[in-house]
Each structure stands twice: as structure tokens, then as C-alpha cells.
Symmetry: C2
């Protein structure tokens, strides 16, 4: 094939050809339908916004990761969205400020960053998610975790597992039971996150060493966390994690990694990461957090985001071709319409030369009947 | 409401709140499902591309209407897509160059322009469409027109009408039956498009005056066009229009405006515009055209694009609120799951204070039964 300059796509940007695009559409529908069933109403946000409104709404958004440019109309800086959560937060604080809480919203859309993420060179990704705004309680966390699992399973993920974390664990312990000098807190967090026992001791966090044991399958790890929590500072959090786990039940395997911080820097008491069989890396993550509400007041929220591109690719790779029914010239269009209404996909001949097999058809309409080719 | 700078959206960019977003999703699904049923496979294109590859692919794209910026990775100029048709043309010429023809592709996505269009200040619009690549025959035109009508009707449009045009009419007549000096052709086209009889005569196109009578309801207008076509230059085109009209049958009202050019500058022999009741302006347009195929060779194509935002707004404005079932604390989750499976939308109480009416619920789960509030 002659590949001219005109045909090149920029690094990290791709087309989805039919097999993958069909799966992407199905996965998106399945996730949105699951969220809709639980009362999460879809909202849609613009592809671009003023950079300032995206950057100032939530600490987790890094303006330097966004594509930015000057708006010829306003002469102000705009950016392509890199995260829809922030935009949903804006909607909750503006257009839906007066809507009753808790407010359940869902979204699906493409997000872009100027650089890929670690090993993944993709600069455009599909983001799907749900936000429960006005609540960050145990009940909110349990609903969101259960919904995230149901949504990814509806989308076709198998062997789903969830890893729970307690993002503000070190702050909570340092404030009461295991005091730390303010200047070492960040180092202790970092060494715990890195699971580096030596580094943790060197950083002055020897008292936190048992946390590195409270990692693994949920039931045993939470026992070790409870045993470590002699002062009872974590009693509420531990009870909450147990309740969320009970709500999940057998729907997914649960693990605990209480000191995991990476990706949860802006979450409050609870965070979780979703994994599924056959997918490298996380399928999504979520937790409790705070949005900038109406007039700048903080509003609690719980939610999750999925980045299902790897799941879509995995499903598409193992998907059989769809049936396709060839309609010869002069076919009965009413019969063809009835067959489409019961789920057949048809291709009508445009001229006598059209070859059903070459066009990928699996069946041919013969009178009133679909006959396998 | 305190409206801070942080909360402002740029001119021409909007959020879709739940009522409208739900309709947008339904309309998109209905159109894509109609296209899929007729063998049009969805493809997905990146939100941004190199400006050059979008601008050089098709004469109809105006680079100056696109948001443009430098890609920090390649240091080359990129643009946000303003038209997905061009991108689908690129896919047909690259990733699907070897796929058998005719190739049926469908798409849905957001497109952006730096300025709104005439009276409509929107700078972001939903574009849905189908392309039949490798054919621009009468059969191709008939399939595309019929599909466009079926798709918008599936989406909820009523009182659909289609206006046919012959974009290269003046060129065809000027080349044979009614010669025009090369320097007046453009003026004749313009005056015909403006339906200005005086201007047409002044421009030297007096012989073309009868075309201004061949406008209106299809059956009578096509008769007048045939009567005008004494030399028989248009015989093939007239027969083709009649055949396309016969295919449409009673599905939509048809009109003819053979010299309409606006918006069809890049179409070949056939163009059409779709209208529906209650919508100001066109719902979509389509026709036959040429794409830059593999290695730069021209490839014939037929297709249509819909811009359904006004239809979505009209449907949302008259839509009743959806039923919503409140699940009290301690409800039977299995029963709730079964009700969702048969189509109920549920909202679970997070605490005892949650008030079903305030949350917009229409029903409440009482034991196994949904009871109207």
C-alpha cells in the first residue's frame, strides 16, 4: 500500500476498524445500561473547555498533560478534556446545583492526553464512569463498588477482582496513634506505597512496618490490619471495608492493599482498583473524593472510571465474525425488513456482479429463507 | 447561583443534562442500529489528526474552520475533526484499502468548528452517517436515500421530506446542450442557486431560466425538467432520480431543486437534503462524491451525514419523565435485580433519610411489588 504523508495518523492515535468498533459500541452500551438501571443518568460534556475551568476544579487534573490552544473566539486558553470526572463535577456544581442529593450521574466519552501513560502509547482513550454526588458514606462506597463490578461484567469482563485501599490511612494514623513529624509523612507514604520495608525504617516509619503485612486476599489481610490497629483509630474504616466486601459477596475476588497510594492521591477515605482476567493493568478505579461544589464549598462524592480499551481489544480478538445475509437483486424488500427486525444484518446487491462471499456474507436470501452459503 | 469564572463554558459549547443526554444516546443508537442492520459497519476515528491529512483528503473541508494546535510530540500541526466523512475516507483508503467493494461504513461522533454556522452558535455537534464506498450508481443512491430516511425515522423524526438536487447539472448542460463561456459558468451556477431570474439573465444564462421552474414537489418538477431537457443530455439523470424516488415510495415526501448547489459543491451527480417536521433547517444531507482512494486514485462513493442535535432537543422537550423505582433500605436485592432485568430503573436508599419523591422516584418497592407513589 502506498502510505503517503496524508495517510499517517499521529503517534498514539488510532482508528477502530469494524470488528473492534462494534465491540467498543457494545461494551459502552452495556456499561451505560448497567449504570442507567441503577438510576445513574447520562450526562454529556463538551470535548473542549476553558483550560482554567478544568484545571481549577480538581487537584487530580494536570493541565500540562492536556492538549491546549487559544480559542479564536474568546482568545482564552482552551484544552481538550483529559478526564470527564472533572466535567461531571462542574455540572453537579452548576447546571445540577439545585438537583436533589445524592445525585447519580454517568458518562462515556473520549479523553485525550499529550503523552501516553507508561507502557501504553495511546493518547486517546475511552472513559466510562458513574458518580454519586453528595455522599461518601459506606453505603455510597458499597453501591459504587457493586455497580462497577456489575458494569464490567455486563461488558464482558471475566475473573473480575477488586483491590481496596485506604488513601488517607497514613494521615489518620499519624494524627493520633502513630505520630510522625510533618516533614517525614510524605516519605513514609512513599515508602509504604513502594512496599519498601528498608526505606520505610530509614524514613522514620518503623512503627508502620506491620502495614506491609496487611496486604493480600481481603479476609486475612483485614484481620492483620485490625490486629495492627491497637489504638482503634481505624475501627470505623475497617468496619466499612468489611461491609463493602460483604456487599460484593462472591461477585468478585477482593484483595486489600491499605497503603497503596498511586492513583489515589485525591481520594479521601476509600479507593479501589478493578482488574479482570487477561488484561494487563487496571480496568478502572474509583473511590470517595471531594468535588468543588456550588460557590466553592466542598461536596462529598463517590465514583469510578473505567478505561475499557484493553477489554475491547481482548474481546474483539476472540470474537467470531457476525452473520451477514446477502439480498440478491430483486429480493422482496418486505421480507428483508422482517428479517432485519428479528436481528438479521443484511447487505443488498447493488448490481448483478456483487459476490456474496467476497462481501463477507454468511447467508443468502432465497425466496423467504436465509440459506447458509 | 454563584457563577464563577471556573464555571463558565466557552461560547457555543454545552453540557447535555440528563433529559437531553438520554435522548441523544437513544437517537444515536437508533440511527447506528438502522445502519448496522443494512450492513454498514461502525468505525471510530480519532478526535484529532494531523491538519494536513484532514485538509488534503477532501475539498469540502475548510482548515480555517478547525481548531488547530501544534502536537507537542511531533511538533506538527494538528486539528480537531470538523467532519468525520473525511476520516472515513481515509480509513477506506488505508486500513480498509484491501476490503472488498462496495464497502459499507457507519460512524457517530462529535465534530467541532471554531465558529458556529449561520444562526446556530453551536461549535460542537453530533455527526452520524453512513458511507457506501466504491459505488455512486443509481442503486447506491437509492440505497443511501432509503437508509437515511429509515434511520431518521427510527430516531424519532416525523414528517420526513427529502429534497433532491443534481449538483453537476450546469456543468453537464454547459458541456453539450447549452454552451456557456467558461468565465460565466460560475455566475450562472450562483444565480441559479440564488433562484434569481434577473441575475441569471444578466449573467448570460437566459437559456437556463426554465430550470427555475423545475422546482417543487417531485412528480411535477421532474416533468418540467424532462420537458426542458430537449437535447436529452439529462435523460440518464432524470431516469435515475425517478428510480430513487420510486425506491423511497411513500416513506417520505420528495421535492426537487435541481440547481441547488449550496452545500453540494463537492458532490458529483446526485445530492439530497433531509428535513423533518418541527425542525428549522436540514437534519442531514448526502449524495454521490469522490474520495481520494489508495495511492491517490479517485474512488466513487455515496453517503449521508446527519446532524441530529435539533431533533434531540425537540424530542427531549416533549418527553415525559421516566419511571424510577425507589428501593428502601434493606430491600431484597434479588427482587430489585429481577425488576431491573425487565426494564425498571431503580434508585437504592443510601440512608433512612432518603426521600423517594425528592429523588424523583415514581414508584417504591414494597415487598416484591413496585407501587406507584
Amino acid at each position: 500500500m502506498t502510505q503517503t504523508d496524508r495517510d499517517l495518523l499521529p503517534e498514539g492515535l488510532e482508528d477502530r476498524l469494524p470488528a473492534t468498533a462494534a465491540v467498543a459500541a457494545r461494551v459502552t452500551r452495556a456499561v451505560l445500561d448497567a449504570m442507567d438501571g441503577h438510576g445513574y443518568s447520562r450526562v454529556q460534556t463538551p470535548t473542549i473547555e476553558f483550560e482554567r475551568s478544568m484545571a481549577s476544579r480538581m487537584a487530580g487534573v494536570q493541565p500540562r498533560r492536556m492538549f491546549r490552544f487559544v480559542d479564536p473566539a474568546s482568545l482564552r486558553m482552551m484544552a481538550i478534556r483529559s478526564d470527564i470526572t472533572v466535567q461531571v463535577g462542574r455540572i453537579a456544581a452548576t447546571g445540577l446545583a439545585a438537583a436533589p442529593r445524592p445525585l447519580r450521574l454517568a458518562y462515556a466519552g473520549q479523553v485525550l492526553t499529550i503523552k501516553g501513560d507508561g507502557l501504553d502509547p495511546a493518547r486517546e482513550r475511552l472513559q466510562l464512569g458513574a458518580e454519586l454526588i453528595g455522599a461518601d458514606s459506606l453505603a455510597a462506597a458499597a453501591e459504587i463498588v457493586a455497580l462497577a463490578i456489575e458494569a464490567v461484567q455486563a461488558a464482558g469482563a471475566t475473573g473480575v477482582s477488586v483491590d481496596f485501599t485506604l488513601p488517607d490511612l497514613v494521615d489518620a494514623l499519624a494524627a493520633e496513634a502513630l505520630p510522625l513529624a510533618p516533614e517525614v509523612i510524605e516519605a513514609v507514604r512513599r515508602e509504604l506505597d513502594a512496599k519498601d520495608a528498608g526505606g520505610l525504617v530509614a524514613a522514620g516509619g518503623a512503627a508502620y512496618l506491620p502495614l506491609l503485612e496487611a496486604i493480600g486476599p481481603f479476609e486475612s489481610a483485614i484481620e492483620r490490619l485490625a490486629a495492627f490497629d491497637k489504638g482503634g483509630v481505624l475501627t470505623g474504616r475497617i468496619a466499612a471495608l468489611r461491609a463493602v466486601a460483604a456487599r460484593v459477596g462472591t461477585a468478585a475476588r477482593i484483595t486489600l492493599d491499605p497503603s497503596e497510594r498511586h492513583g489515589f492521591e485525591y481520594q479521601s477515605w476509600f479507593g479501589f482498583t478493578l482488574y479482570a482476567d487477561g488484561l494487563r493493568g487496571a480496568l478502572g478505579r474509583g473511590g470517595t473524593y471531594t468535588i468543588l461544589g456550588q460557590g466553592g464549598a466542598a461536596e462529598p462524592a463517590t465514583g469510578f472510571s473505567l478505561y475499557p480499551d484493553p477489554l475491547i481489544d481482548a474481546i474483539a480478538a476472540s470474537e467470531p465474525a457476525r452473520d451477514l445475509l446477502f439480498l440478491p437483486l430483486g429480493h422482496d424488500t418486505e421480507i428483508a425488513g422482517r428479517l432485519r427486525a428479528i436481528g438479521w444484518r443484511t447487505v443488498a446487491a447493488l448490481d448483478a456482479e456483487d459476490d456474496p462471499r467476497r462481501l463477507g456474507c454468511t447467508h443468502r436470501l432465497d425466496g423467504q429463507e436465509a440459506v447458509r452459503l
